[in-house]
């Protein structure tokens, strides 16, 4: 079932890519959004901060999903390497959802997203004792817009230094 979901998601992303590229040939207006989203996952750098040079602080998710994209895994590997180099630093993984969901479900979804990031950091050698998970659900958006691009920036897990 899990695999099914992943497959479905990949297909969705592919389908969305096709739709977007089809649009782009027709209209140039779409370029702006296209450059910042793949499927409905945010790929831009607008809101991203850096824990260290080359170590982005956040990863982004598709609607209702907590699956890590290739880019997210790359970001988390950079974070894991940085955390291994800085063994005294602990982190809080803050999980977030967009505004298009019910409050309580979004709290759980934010927790699930932050845990997806946590699991990945752990597979790259970071002890769970150094990681705290904190879900904000939809309570702390970074972009107050009511549009797909704003929502994509808000569906995120942000790694924050705890000390």
């Amino acid at each position: 079932m899990r695999l099914n979901k992943i497959l479905k998601n990949t297909l969705l992303v592919l389908a969305a890519c096709l739709v977007l590229s089809a649009c782009a040939t027709k209209k140039e207006v779409a370029t702006d959004i296209q450059g910042q989203m793949q499927g409905d996952v945010y790929t831009g750098t607008d809101t991203v901060k850096y824990l260290a040079d080359g170590v982005p602080d956040r990863v982004f998710f598709a609607t209702n999903e907590s699956i890590l994209t290739t880019a997210s895994r790359e970001t988390l590997r950079a974070q894991a390497a940085w955390l291994r180099k800085n063994p005294n630093i602990n982190v809080v993984l803050e999980g977030h959802a967009d505004e298009r969901g019910t409050r309580e479900y979004n709290l759980a979804l934010g927790e699930r997203r932050a845990n997806a990031a946590k699991d990945y950091l752990m597979t790259y050698g970071i002890s769970s004792e150094r990681i705290t998970v904190l879900s904000y659900g939809k309570e702390r958006p970074v972009d107050s817009g009511s549009n797909p691009l704003a929502w994509s920036k808000n569906r995120r897990s942000v790694t924050v230094k705890a000390n």
Partner: protein
């Protein structure tokens, strides 16, 4: 803060058993019953005494204004303009001239009298059937003067009950989350107010994020989510004493709390390792029980009024849907099968319906379905709305609605709204600040 207030109530005259006027509340009421709320009459000595104590020019008129406003907002009654009244309040209360009230098309008439007796407020009121020229009801209350608004609400409930055959919902409170500040950094406080928006009070200072307050059945305690010290946990607050405590000792986030119908347990979700399961905690012996056990997100639990069943939402099918199970977690059945996502199920106090939020094609709906999932009915559609809470008589739903922001990301607001189960009578409930997550109390007096 909410003081238990003794209200002495006695029936003046036996109630006439044959109700002649009937108001049908099961269908949308497009012809609200025209009725006259005559200002409660007051003698000069009493008027001056209450003016001193309550700083109200005429407390009799103030109380009748509350009754009038309640009955109007119910959508079932059409209180007539006082300027058209032909009979003076004091005379009308003794013996209405029914021809005069008939002339202005009033079908029912409310009259009454206010007295200042032994530092107390004494109010008597009568409900008359104008066409039949008969008294339908007569009651008197004695209470402390500060309680005058509640007297207005209780009179409204008695009239509503006498004319519709069902309990009212006016002598109630709403607990909700007050919101201020920019959308990306909202300051949220617990707030409580009377059902009509009066007596608003803040219960927390806004230092930490608070969400989803819910009353216990006695309406004296509130369970809610607080981010105190950045640790999101379910809390219990005693409204009267202000004491707060964390519910249970969980190593991670607990959320989505509600009381059991007997008030003895709190049911909530606990999130751990990306999974959220439903737990209960007994408030007397502190025993914690795990109710669901599934790798999915199980949350927003709500008991049936008899306590035997629990409805909740889960994404175990891949997407958020509504389920019903026995109170021990057995016999889980999915009940929502329409197009879209379904969340925030809440069992009606009458037991026959579950209210929910539905997301379909980018729109949010508040709706109801029977407890087996049949008979889905969507009451209202909007850009964003969720979290319905039932009036104690199961006839009205309160929920919150958020607006879409403009191109600059501005213009955000969150407001409380109510709608009748019929899908009619949608109205905004005024709050001093933006507002969300409303929870309706039970009737404070019975």
């Amino acid at each position: 803060m909410i003081k238990k207030i003794l209200i002495l109530l006695f029936i003046l005259i036996p109630i006439n058993a044959n109700a002649l006027i009937e108001v049908d509340i099961t269908r949308g009421n497009l012809n609200p019953l025209p009725l006259a709320v005559s200002p409660l009459s007051i003698d000069e000595v009493s008027r001056k005494s209450f003016k001193k104590i309550l700083e109200k020019e005429n407390i009799g008129s103030e109380i009748s204004n509350i009754v009038e406003n309640n009955l109007r907002t119910s959508g079932l009654f059409n209180p007539l303009d006082k300027k058209a009244f032909l009979q003076a309040p004091d005379i009308a209360n003794l013996k209405p001239r029914f021809e005069d009230w008939n002339l202005i098309k009033a079908q029912a008439l409310i009259t009454g009298k206010v007295n200042y007796i032994d530092d107390k407020l004494r109010v008597e009121f009568r409900l008359w059937d104008v066409l039949a020229a008969k008294e339908m009801m007569a009651l008197a209350f004695t209470t402390v003067p500060n309680n005058w608004r509640r007297v207005g609400h209780i009179i409204s409930d008695k009239v509503y009950e006498r004319l519709t055959g069902e309990k009212g919902y006016f002598d109630t409170r709403i607990i909700y989350v007050s919101e201020e500040g920019p959308k990306v950094q909202r300051i949220k406080k617990l707030a409580i107010m009377d059902q009509d928006g009066a007596n608003n009070k803040f219960l927390t200072l806004g230092n930490e994020l608070v969400l989803t307050p819910r009353f216990n059945p006695a309406s004296q305690m509130v369970t809610y989510l607080s981010y105190f010290k950045n640790m999101p946990r379910v809390y219990l607050l005693d409204i009267e004493t202000g004491t707060q405590e964390v519910v249970g000792d969980f190593p991670g986030m607990t959320f989505a709390p509600r009381f059991s119908p007997d008030g003895k347990k709190i049911i909530m979700s606990f999130a751990n390792d990306g999974k959220s399961d439903i737990y209960t905690m007994d408030l007397e012996n502190r025993i914690v029980e795990k109710i669901t056990n599934h790798p999915s997100i199980d949350t927003s639990p709500s008991y049936s009024p008899d306590g035997k069943y629990i409805t909740f939402n889960s994404d175990r099918s891949g997407y958020q849907q509504i389920y019903v199970m026995k109170n021990d977690g057995s016999d889980v059945k999915r009940i929502s099968f329409g197009n879209g996502l379904y969340g925030t199920p809440v069992w009606s106090p009458r037991g026959d319906l579950i209210a929910f939020t539905k997301l379909h094609k980018g729109k949010f709906y508040i709706g109801v379905m029977r407890t087996d999932g049949s008979g889905e009915r969507l009451l209202t559609e909007n850009y964003y709305q969720e979290a319905p809470s039932w009036s104690p008589n199961g006839r009205v739903l309160i929920f919150y609605r958020e607006t879409k922001t403009d191109d600059k990301g501005e213009g955000f607001s969150a407001k409380l709204w109510s709608i009748d189960l019929t899908g009619y009578n949608e109205r905004q409930i005024k709050t001093p600040t933006d507002a969300s997550d409303p929870s309706w109390s039970s009737l404070l007096s019975n």
